[in-house]
Symmetry: C3
Subunit: 677 residues, 3 copies
């Protein structure tokens, strides 16, 4: 028996979303089900996500429940030893529910109540929704608590509803009272004297609105916190029932996006396992895929996670939806394993006949049979995954470099009242991540509220919102020998969006040994140049930079690079401060990729950061460690690549042994285990 | 006396919209009217559209009617032998009506009821609007039933109102009950199990909404059908009264756009004559003008139609509204005749002093006199049209090639949940039409529900929605010797927007002898290449293609061209299937214009399709046949062109006889009749 | 004692917006105030705008007023001899007010009532808002009537609210009754017969609406007039109280934008002094800054005005907000003086800690101390301004060239139903202004309703709306010897937006000696060419032109230039008409800048227009005259420039005397006074 609420991986899980109820109304519905099971066996499926959108099928009226079809499909699956990740079915309420309880429907920022339809179309604080969804969850849990196929609970789906109704406003006031205690304190923190916005009674506090208060940043910020909390509260309401009725079954909801509305760092502690829906765009680079994989890996500190959804072929929601090229689905699947996942799942098993996602790819296409390229690739991968030995699935990836990421900071950076409208927080994080990834330096993506002491290097791009406590923790980290790097537009505001007075970057100023007197947001298309000073083997050259230039005063720091143009030519563009036993770097602009690479190169050389293996550029390598050590090699190039090995290794996927060198085919993959651990 | 409800053409009709009530309030209103009549005589006007927006002038209050001004103007016109196309005046309700019956105003997709103003601003199902408009129509019909000037009824104007109010919702449910019988059947056809959208009572069925259900394609589709039907029902309500009171007077409304909302194929049977408002953009090519002319010609199977509106000079509603260059208005007018029209009309007679259309061109400009270039061109054309002999007006154009066009298919192709957002259905039809037009091959534009047996070649681009019946009809057509061509993204869905299972292109698969396993929508700017196989005189070369590439399996068909790049390089891009006595072609991508031209060239050569005359490129020629045969020559180039004639012909417009060759001036026109028919 | 309600300038005023209440809630609030005063002294501040957004701080509840903090700060300021421009604090109502009187909130064009928040968020006709704001104004006036620091009243801030509520509709009807007398007359003027829009009762008249009547230009136009009037009425309500209680204190509100909603020509007579908030974009050219300065100067006929707001460094509301380069703030400040201002003020004194404008630059930055580049520049300018002698502040600028500008014309030109959507009225005015500015020819910007007789040259670009009276005044002006120039799309409509009949340009036709038969709006990117005829030393060459070409008939005028392309090649593009003792020019297109420059060159040479001094291009020079004459030299180039002087002069700023030549540093400034006046 497994540990309470913790998922174990005797095998790598493989499968997809399964919506058999879509075929019940078809004349040959039962045959479709049987064909599903035949094909699942053929594809190596051992886990399906079931019932995610089945509320209407399970409860066709408030007082009527229909579980028979679910009983049947669960039996069929159990008979094939296929496990089930069972949905609580609450991501889309039935039509009868919206009709009977119209307040369930959300009100938007303009104050308009929405109408029934689509999905995730409910107010996240609504009491009726909570009551009815929890009622369904209890029925499901009690019915299937002992079912042998039940492996995992899947609460709702891709959370994210927002609402601005009166009830939300009331709950928001309560949330604010909790946070600030008094209206006076709220007024003080939000600086409401500006424009006579002072609140003199709690009732005056309203959610932000596109046709009302939309320029008080602190209100926006707190409402975003509130909405994330209210969704989480909804999740916890369902999860509590599941944990009560089935304490042995892990509970989670799936993350996606990366959604800007939900602070996954606050959600993660309440997930028994992290799961991720991975939908890179056709022009996403492999490092962008890896970035999110690493974020998922870190949300629960290297616990294995689930790649819960990806498309085997194409999606349908972009302007244009090209196919994944042959081999790319397999490559991205192994890349997930390389970054700590132990499961590969798809949306969805069988392509839908109608609805918005009817052209979304699936393991079984509209053709309905196995004679398709996609099914062949899917089945081949399913067969391959069976080769992964249990010891391998118990390994974990470890990193000595951390990238700081924070949702409230994201909201602040992309707030529309900042001095530049061109900020893209995630892209800025990826700008640094990419340089590390290209060098195969493992990176954790963590919250600034987490402990830093395990890291040699901490990087915090666009770290504009820094609390007193966060500033102190970073200072302590550097004092004790850590290396910290941050950039322009950092240390500007506190957690209530109040400017730090006395000199930017506020609580990071002493650590960085600088004062940023002014900043110059550059118009689109305008650039400046960075010239490296103190040239050395690992630090030289000049680089273009854009978007923003700070005017920096040294207060103990040294200049590593200067600006080349404009009235601040010759002034510091990159600085380094030796502080305590550590050092702190400041990058006062947005360098081009080559500039970031030069920076990372210098840090790598100074800190002795190493890659697991030395591989050609374009090949990714990660290391998972445990009782055994495994090297994941991923060739992202359409040409074959040769990798030198420091010692003999065996490829888990082929069982072939390589002594000194191995060849990776185009888009090829290997999982190497040293012959002698 | 003419045939009941059928318009005869003793002459070509000529004139325009006439709104004399706009000038009544002016001090010199009466003089303006008299001047109008003097100038009309000068311009050769013999038909005016009267009263189209006169509701408020005819009925200033619910219980008060004022017909005297209309009596007067009708008398004045009759005295000049000018016929009247009399508007029912119901396209814009008076202010008092909207004030007294606020439910007349439409509700938009976001659920907001609109306010009074503009035109066509009413709910198409509203009972009060129906009652009041029909009441006015009856009064008009009864008053003018015997008036000698009355030639034709003009119901409303450019139909197209949409509404999403509660009453429309109720009517929609009735419409659906008619269509599907039961809610179970509706759920099955719309596949509402997806996202728990299952309806458990009819009241839950709501119109689509931008803030509600906007992603159930079948709902969208049926609501579009419903809106077209409700507008048609409104039209038929007025028409029934007119047909009752004045059975001898033809009834019609004018088509325009091409409007996406109204399915003109379902409207056409209820028109006694087709009329078209032609407003090409300044950068429209002549084939685009001809395309719509041909569509109008075909709506009632080659019956003569009316060019009811065009501007003599410029419009005012585009971003920029350049003048028609000298000669272009005449050229486009004769182009209408060349494609089967027997009338040339303008919007409007006299330029308005105010309102949204005050800068819209008119036969008589704000200057108010005849000393303008525009009036001179108008008067010259009026004089010229008198030369057209009655026998000529009885001729018709005939085509052996059909282009399939369908409104529901249009709605489906441009639905926002398709795999590519770059579809433009009309542009795709025109892409094929253009190649035929350039070769002066006459084309009919027909519905896929019409009989195909008269055609040598049937082309159905982007034919995504194909019913079982349509598929069978095409199969039969090919079996019996027809040639059919269709393209990528065809045969995907049935009439309820359900994917065809078992293999695309669904009901066309056997006829085409192929199976489309996958499709690859290309990002904007990305192309592939077509390489012709089985090269021959009429088939060779390589062509760029874009937007979409299918991955095609042959099931009996042969490959005519293959893709040049990507992982499907070498796979079929164009196929040909010999089936029964006929053949079926499939074009798995969007070739550049030269590629389409190569295809049409090959088909022309194999099927022996011919032009009426051999003319230089840039000269258009059509043939109208009846008791006499007439060749319409239109020089769309700004240079003069020489045309060889197979036998001696006489130009109707100049009475000149040409033995072997004629010269067309820049933008010149000729109507040639062989000397010996 | 100064003249009643007229501001005198014993010194140049210097300072900024001061919002001390923002710091009261901070722990060290009192210290911040004392530090403010220390720094103000250091910066040379002698005037602050106080209380502009203090309503909530002054009146925390309807029945409770708190003036103590304002008393204190006024005392502190008075003690430092710092004057106060006291805000009436009514630009943003408190939260309690919106909560108690929800009708105060405005309704937008779609009929949606807005929610509390931001600023200027009230209905401009609302009676409760009027009552409560006037009540506060009376309390302020009575309390501070005798305060020694009180120099000037600042009513509200940057007026501009719009509303479309029922009460506004009612007021609008009253306004229309005043204007038109009867509904019949309104129907006649608005030409409501079009599209059956005739009103049969006053209640049917509604404000324009995005979901209702949005295409009746006359309604749009009158509603814009009405909104400007209603805002003005609100201003006058507050001003009346101030003038009653403190007749000796001048009253004004600040202008900004240039806002399209408020007709400043109708507001100006009610201002005791004009004040301007100057916020050029980072890519605005110096002539664009000067253009608005000149407009402010002319609003009250050369009376000195106040530069009430500018940023010392950067704003935060554009897509990108770069810093003003060193020296540019000083240069733009002196440019204001050069164009008649006697005060330089900033928004704001101390940078805000939060809210939408927290990143807007300020004299004292978030750093909070004086060791910043910005504070140093501010303090240096403050010291320098003390050098300006009183006699200098009594001088005025004079111009012999006028540019006609009119708000109703602006509304008409940019109405969305014009034949081209590319009109930008202000840009067109600036297109002509720029050519004059580059030659340092002083220009007044005046309303077409003002007297013209003082001017040698009057230019009226895009003068589409011309009343009978305006046309007659221009005719008289030319008859008596004036020179008038207008352009395409002029003389099209009367003040009710009715087309002029009989021939364009309507009431300007006789004066110009032309008839514009047709116009050809050119598509974006398409150009024609102007060829100069009657070549002379001051008139030659060929120039590109765009956007629009008129087809012009000469009716007495001569052709100065012809079009080079298209079917109107060779027809007049620029004409000149000798009429009475004067002459009138017509420019039938939009020439490129070089073409405008050629035109202005010709006019300058013929009319003998001169610059105050001959200076290199890029150097601006203006002359202010009074008891003394002063030349303001402004080097807008980043290179030093040499200026030859006709006689010896002294630079007020340096007290240095130049005999024949002086050198201006990059971005340098001089105020030269001839040694012997």
């Amino acid at each position: 028996m497994q540990q309470l609420g913790k998922l174990r991986f005797p095998v790598a899980f493989y499968g997809g979303d399964y919506n058999p109820e879509q075929w019940m109304a078809e004349e040959n519905g039962r045959q479709v089900w049987l064909e599903d099971l035949r094909l699942m066996r053929k594809a190596g499926v051992n886990l399906v996500s079931l019932g995610v959108f089945s509320w209407a099928a399970l409860q066709p009226a408030e007082d009527r429940f229909v579980f028979e079809w679910l009983d049947q499909i669960l039996e069929l699956l159990a008979a094939q030893q296929i496990f089930v990740c069972l949905g609580t079915a609450t991501a889309a309420q039935p039509a009868w529910l919206s009709a009977a309880y119209p307040d369930v429907l959300p009100v938007d920022e303009a104050g308009v109540r929405h109408k029934p339809g689509v999905r995730l179309n409910y107010c996240p604080t609504n009491e009726q929704f909570r009551r009815l969804s929890q009622n369904l969850v209890r029925k499901l849990a009690e019915r299937y608590r002992e079912h042998s196929a039940l492996l995992l609970w899947h609460v709702s789906n891709e959370y994210g509803p927002a609402c601005y109704c009166e009830y939300c406003a009331m709950r928001f006031r309560g949330w604010l009272q909790q946070r600030y205690g008094s209206l006076e304190e709220l007024n003080r923190r939000w600086i409401t004297t500006i424009w006579s916005r002072t609140y003199t009674s709690w009732e005056q506090v309203q959610p932000p609105s596109s046709i009302g208060e939309h320029s008080l940043q602190a209100l926006q910020l707190d409402y975003q916190r509130f909405l994330s909390d209210m969704n989480l509260e909804g999740y916890l309401g369902e999860a509590a029932i599941l944990r009560e009725v089935t304490p042995h079954i892990p509970v989670m909801t799936n993350f996606h996006g990366l959604t800007r509305h939900m602070d996954y760092f606050s959600w993660a502690p309440h997930q028994d396992i992290i799961s991720w829906d991975s939908y890179p765009r056709h022009n996403s680079t492999p490092d962008m895929v890896a970035f999110f994989y690493d974020m998922m890996r870190c949300l629960k500190h290297n616990q294995p996670w689930l790649l819960l959804e990806q498309t085997p072929s194409q999606v349908q929601w972009h302007q244009e939806n090209p196919l994944k090229r042959p081999g790319v689905m397999r490559l991205q699947s192994y890349q997930a394993l390389a970054h700590g996942s132990n499961a590969i799942m798809f949306f969805q098993w069988r392509q839908a006949r109608g609805g918005r996602e009817m052209y979304h790819g699936a393991m079984v296409s509209h053709a309905g049979h196995e004679q398709t390229r996609i099914f062949q690739e899917v089945a081949a991968l399913g067969a391959e995954l069976k080769l992964l030995e249990p010891a391998l699935l118990e390994t974990q990836m470890q990193a000595r470099v951390a990238l700081l990421m924070s949702w409230p900071n994201w909201w602040a950076v992309e707030n529309r009242h900042t001095p530049s409208r061109h900020f893209n927080y995630i892209a800025e994080l990826q700008h640094y991540y990419r340089a590390l990834w290209q060098r195969n330096i493992a990176v954790d993506i963590i919250s600034p509220d987490q402990a830093l002491d395990n890291y040699q290097l901490v990087i915090a791009p666009l770290f504009t919102m820094v609390s007193e406590e966060q500033g102190a923790a970073i200072e302590q980290y550097v004092k004790e020998g850590g290396t910290f790097l941050t950039t322009y537009f950092s240390g500007m505001i506190d957690e209530s969006h109040r400017a730090w007075l006395g000199g930017f970057p506020g609580p990071l100023r002493r650590t960085l040994g600088i004062w940023v007197e002014e900043f110059d947001p550059l118009p689109e298309g305008k650039t400046n140049t960075l010239f490296c000073l103190q040239e050395a083997d690992d630090w030289s050259g000049s680089y273009s930079c854009e978007r923003w230039c700070d005017i920096v005063h040294l207060e103990g720091a040294q200049t590593l690079a200067v600006f080349g143009q404009d009235f601040y030519a010759g002034r510091p563009a990159i600085t380094e401060n030796h502080y305590g036993l550590g050092q702190a770097f400041y990058v006062a602009t947005r360098p081009e990729a080559a500039g970031i690479d030069a920076l990372i190169n210098m840090l790598q050389s100074r800190l002795g950061l190493t890659a697991p293996l030395l591989v050609p550029r374009g090949v990714e390598v990660t290391r998972r460690e445990g009782k055994i050590t495994a090297y994941f090699l991923l060739n992202h190039l359409p040409q074959e690549q040769y990798v030198s090995l420091p010692r003999p290794m065996r490829d888990v996927l082929t069982q072939q042994v390589y002594e000194q060198e191995m060849q990776l085919p185009p888009h090829g993959v290997a999982i190497l285990i040293p012959l002698y651990q």
